[in-house]
């Protein structure tokens, strides 16, 4: 066991630099789970948020309040709900998804969809107030206005998607409950960090922490840089 922070950092760097197989398997699974959940949440959350911003219907206020509340949904509560759904006695128990990456994807999707939908609703609603009359004048109905405004808000929506990714990558409570932290099957970076820290294996935990931070920084950096380049080149406007 390594308890001295300097030695732990050196050992962690060695694991990262030498391409430790176990470490990179955990990293790959984490990315697979989080990015899949992000993709599903984006596909659901963007149009849902856009529609909530533009359409008026009974119960809309309650739905907005619900999504705003779900943005702060404690991961362990989401994990528990998914666990009850997927456990053998639950309504989806027959599918045998508990303690698989699929269960973790479901849990993360439930956690990040409200974030993307609620932020999208706010961004698009601001635009809807500014563009409603002009779009109506041009003959656009509300249905056509939703994709138009989603595209109009694309740079702001990148922030919403990145917020969702951040939540997914950093999340540990829900996936620990529904994934079970099984080595080689459902062990992700965050669950492994929690486990290795409790075991006192700081180099492995620190190595994963470093990789996690670098990954989040890289994804955010690419997204920001891409957005800036598109804006400057004007290519996004063509």
């Amino acid at each position: 066991m390594v308890s001295d922070p300097t030695t732990a950092f050196a050992a962690a760097w060695h694991l990262v630099a030498t391409g430790d197989r176990e470490l990179y398997a955990v990293v790959a699974l984490s990315l697979r789970v989080s990015l899949t959940a992000l993709l599903i949440a984006t596909v659901i959350g963007l149009p849902l948020g856009g529609a909530l911003a533009v359409y008026r219907f009974p119960g809309r206020g309650a739905m907005i309040a619900l999504f705003d509340t779900l943005m702060g949904l404690p991961p362990v509560v989401a994990g528990l709900a998914v666990y009850l759904l997927l456990s053998r006695a639950g309504p989806l128990g027959d599918y045998g998804l508990l303690f698989t990456p699929a269960a973790m994807i479901i849990a993360q999707t439930i956690l990040i969809t409200p974030i993307i939908a609620a932020l999208t609703r706010q961004f698009v609603e601001d635009d809807w107030h500014a563009y409603r009359e002009q779009l109506t004048s041009l003959g656009s109905g509300r249905g056509r206005a939703v994709p138009t405004l989603l595209w109009n808000c694309r740079y702001s929506l990148m922030t919403a998607v990145l917020a969702g990714l951040g939540r997914a990558m950093a999340e540990v409570g829900a996936i620990l409950i529904v994934g079970g932290n099984i080595a080689g099957v459902t062990r992700t970076m965050t669950t492994a960090i929690a486990l290795e820290t409790s075991k006192g294996d700081l180099p492995f935990a620190l190595g994963l922490g470093l990789v996690l931070m670098v990954l989040i920084l890289t994804v955010n950096g690419i997204a920001r840089l891409g957005g800036l380049m598109i804006q400057r080149a004007g290519a996004g406007y063509a």
Binding site: E133, S137, G139, G234, Y237
Partner: protein
């Protein structure tokens, strides 16, 4: 010559608009016929923009009726006081409007190139609309409206935020569109602009239509004390 029936005249009968306890438009009777440039004139808060929005169908009146000769989609267009442009290129702002009007992809492109050339915006076609100057933005929204070949164009104080140079360009564009057969219905509180552009005047004050008729008559022989005071440059509120 148009090969379809004109949507004009537009007939307003006792059109009113009430918001909460406030009567913003009070039983307006008016007739907008093909031909003359109609300017809705009046001080701020008279109800000019609201009346224009009701005519264009953006706001439903709470009383009275509004009737076009025939109903035809995309026969009207509107330009707002503050240019509302999508976060896209100059050209894409026009092709978007043309797509909504049902133009094919090829025709959109061709029509957009044509109107951008006419508006003097062709060199800026690929630029983001957001980087245009205030005058260029207003030219672009006029070009977008013109691209749709409307029979009636509503303009809500289109030069209110522009300097004299840009105002002159916009007024020339409006005159050219009128010469090409577009019915102009425009609001303004600028007397000089009304004198330059109006063929007929609808003078609104506190939600009531005080006068309607030929511009020349209005400017030489105003029929109401409010109109006379407005023409003298007094603070009519």
């Amino acid at each position: 010559m148009r090969d379809y029936a004109s949507i004009l005249p537009l007939q307003l009968e006792a059109v009113s608009y009430r918001a909460d306890d406030c009567l913003l438009l009070d039983r307006i009777d008016a007739r907008f016929r093909a031909g003359p440039r109609s300017l809705i004139l009046g001080p701020n808060g008279a109800g000019k923009s609201l009346l224009l929005r009701i005519c264009h169908g953006l706001v439903k009146p709470t009383g009275g009726t509004l009737c076009w000769a025939v109903a035809r989609p995309h026969a009207q267009a509107m330009v707002f006081q503050n240019p509302v442009l999508l976060r896209r290129s100059v050209r894409a702002n026009i092709t978007y409007a043309l797509a909504l009007a049902g133009y094919s992809r090829r025709d959109r492109r061709r029509r957009a190139e044509q109107v951008l050339e006419e508006a003097g915006l062709a060199p800026r076609a690929r630029h983001p609309a957001a980087v245009l100057s205030a005058g260029e933005k207003q030219k672009l929204v006029l070009a977008r409206a013109w691209a749709l070949r409307p029979e009636v164009l509503f303009l809500d104080e289109p030069t209110a935020n522009l300097d004299p140079g840009a105002t002159k360009v916009i007024e020339q564009t409006i005159t050219a569109m009128h010469a090409a057969g577009v019915k102009i219905i425009m609001t303004t509180h600028d007397l000089g602009q009304a004198r330059r552009l109006a063929d007929e005047i609808f003078f609104l004050h506190r939600g009531k239509l005080r006068e309607a008729g030929a511009a020349e008559t209005f400017f030489t022989q105003p029929g109401t004390a409010e109109a006379a005071a407005f023409l003298r440059g007094e603070l009519v509120i």
